[in-house]
């Protein structure tokens, strides 16, 4: 018996030892990819004693992009500071996103738990899902005005179905055996939901949320296409009209950083909260 224990402990230790080294190797490869891309950018834009292969109008050099960033930081863009542009975009983005999580996750859970709720809500949500939401923007503008509401709604429109449906599917795929185990331990319906169905659904819910982040960032650009004069995506679109490629790139990088940062944030949360995911 003691053999069985010590063996399995040894297996555990080996696992823990191996992981950090592997991760370090992967990190080097990732760094190499980014260094390569940066080098290509530097060479192509003429950083050095040679002429730029690509003209700054099409691709400004990294140095110019950084310089532009600090200029924007100092002077703002079209009467508003860079912080204000980022702030208003973040406000539109996060209002839509938080709304989708606060309403979409509970609704999805209910749809997964209850056939009637599913019969009521799933068909309309599934029907809306394939509709390109950008096409609805003119309608939203007519219905909800040219203020922030129509922008928040156009961001929420594609995110909401994804989050609700993924929560529903997460509930539906909870192992029957685990539910039966809880029932035969004397758990009430509520206990089964709170301590089995809900935690077992979390990995699926996280997947839905992380999937939505990049879609929401894309929709931010759509939302700021018209009827506004502020926001980071609007800044990119406006700068493009003046062929100010350097400003476009700064705006795009800021949006990428926001999207990437949010994804990493939820990735960290996921790893902490559902550390057990997939390890059955």
């Amino acid at each position: 018996m003691t053999d069985v224990y010590s063996q399995s402990e040894a297996v555990l230790d080996k696992h823990d030892e191996k992981r950090p080294r592997k991760r370090l190797n992967d990190l080097w490869l990732t760094l190499a990819t980014f260094s390569g891309l940066l080098a290509a950018w530097l060479i192509a834009t003429g950083t050095g004693p040679w002429d730029p292969i690509i003209q700054p109008l099409f691709l400004p050099s990294p140095a110019l992009v950084i310089q532009t960033f600090f200029q924007l930081l100092e002077n703002g863009f079209q009467g508003k500071s860079l912080g204000q542009h980022v702030g208003i975009s973040l406000y539109r983005f996060s209002t839509a996103f938080i709304f989708c999580i606060l309403i979409g996750v509970p609704l999805g859970l209910l749809m997964g738990m209850n056939r009637r709720v599913r019969a009521i809500f799933e068909p309309p949500i599934q029907a809306i899902r394939p509709v390109p939401k950008i096409a609805l923007l003119p309608l939203f503008l007519i219905w909800f005005g040219i203020g922030d509401l129509s922008k928040i709604i156009v961001i929420a429109a594609p995110v909401f179905p994804i989050i609700a449906i993924s929560a529903m599917q997460a509930v539906q795929s909870v192992s029957r055996m685990k539910i039966q185990a809880a029932q035969s331990l004397g758990a009430s319906r509520w206990t089964v939901f709170a301590r089995i169905v809900l935690p077992a659904s979390l990995p699926g819910i996280f997947t839905g949320i992380r999937l939505s982040i990049s879609i929401a960032v894309t929709m931010l650009v759509a939302a700021e296409l018209t009827a506004t004069s502020e926001g980071i995506a609007w800044m990119a679109l406006t700068a493009a009209e003046f062929l100010a490629t350097n400003i476009v790139i700064v705006a795009v990088v800021i949006m990428a950083v926001i999207g990437f940062g949010l994804d990493r944030l939820f990735w960290l949360l996921e790893r902490r909260i559902v550390h057990w995911s997939g390890k059955d």
């Binding site: 399995s8 029932q183 035969s184 331990l185 004397g186 935690p199 550390h275």
Partner: protein
């Protein structure tokens, strides 16, 4: 031979039985697509019996366990525990599953304390009860680990501890060691036998292994498939033995051979029918 046939449906009255199956059958689906998982059967299990149900896939043994656990309802007949008809899952019937039934978002301790918590004990009492059973199955030091950090054998111990902590009247075990390697299984089978002797629990054990059934059981019900039915039933003396090497004695081997031939002949029947 240490095994002898007995009338598993009539050897004691319903009043005497801990578990009573009366004319129980199960048909899945309806009309032309229906599948008879279990033809009507009677079975009485006395308190303290270690009853093994042995048979190949499709013989209805897992259906029988699911009905007893209350996960499913019989098509005909009724199943009673202490004379009360079973209609839904309950804490007086502890279930141990094959594998993957642990709550992997909870620590070992939380898993084992789940039952007492669900049946109304305070958190601290539940913890104490859980620690006690963990000690009994030799996992006290692993209380704070998560199930995925344990080996398969240890995970099954947690599953057994979890079911035991509720102090159920009956333990229902669905091939709990089928996914384990031979050595671990033998160690755990020996432990189960000791556990049964110590606690005197009534155990309903599902297995496809004749050897496992002979090693553990006081009563063996042999089932055969398509349609699922009871083929034969034996009382067995091997389960009460203290000899860990009982399975290599001539009597044991002879008994094993007897049941093996029985199962084989039922397979032949099937081929002829087809």
């Amino acid at each position: 031979m240490l095994i002898e046939p007995y009338a598993c449906g009539t050897h004691c009255s319903i009043e005497e039985a801990k578990l009573a199956f009366q004319n129980v059958s199960k048909i899945y689906g309806a009309g032309a697509d229906s599948v008879t998982a279990l033809t009507p059967m009677d079975l009485m299990v006395r308190k303290g019996d270690f009853l093994c149900i042995v048979g190949p896939s499709g013989c209805g043994k897992t259906t029988l366990l699911n009905l007893t656990a209350g996960f499913d309802q019989p098509t005909s007949g009724k199943i009673m525990i202490d004379g009360v008809e079973i209609s839904k899952p309950g804490a007086e019937r502890g279930v141990v599953f094959q594998q993957g039934a642990l709550f992997n978002w909870m620590t070992v301790l939380e898993n084992v304390a789940f039952g007492p918590r669900a049946t109304g004990h305070s958190a601290s009492v539940a913890r104490e009860m859980a620690m006690e059973t963990l000690q009994m199955v030799g996992l006290k030091d692993f209380a704070k680990k998560y199930p995925y950090q344990l080996s398969g054998g240890m995970q099954q111990r947690v599953g057994i501890a979890r079911a035991l902590t509720n102090d159920p009247e009956v333990l229902l075990m669905d091939e709990p060691f089928a996914a384990l390697d031979q050595q671990t299984r033998e160690v755990l089978l020996e432990e189960i036998r000791l556990l049964w002797k110590r606690t005197g629990k009534t155990i309903l054990w599902i297995t496809h292994s004749i050897e496992e059934a002979l090693f553990l059981a006081t009563h063996i019900v042999v089932m055969s498939p398509r349609p699922g039915r009871i083929r034969a039933a034996f009382q067995s003396g091997f389960g009460r033995s203290d000899d860990p090497l009982i399975s290599v004695t001539p009597e044991f081997v002879a008994a094993k051979r007897h049941i093996f031939e029985l199962l084989k002949s039922s397979q032949k029947d099937e081929v002829q029918i087809q």
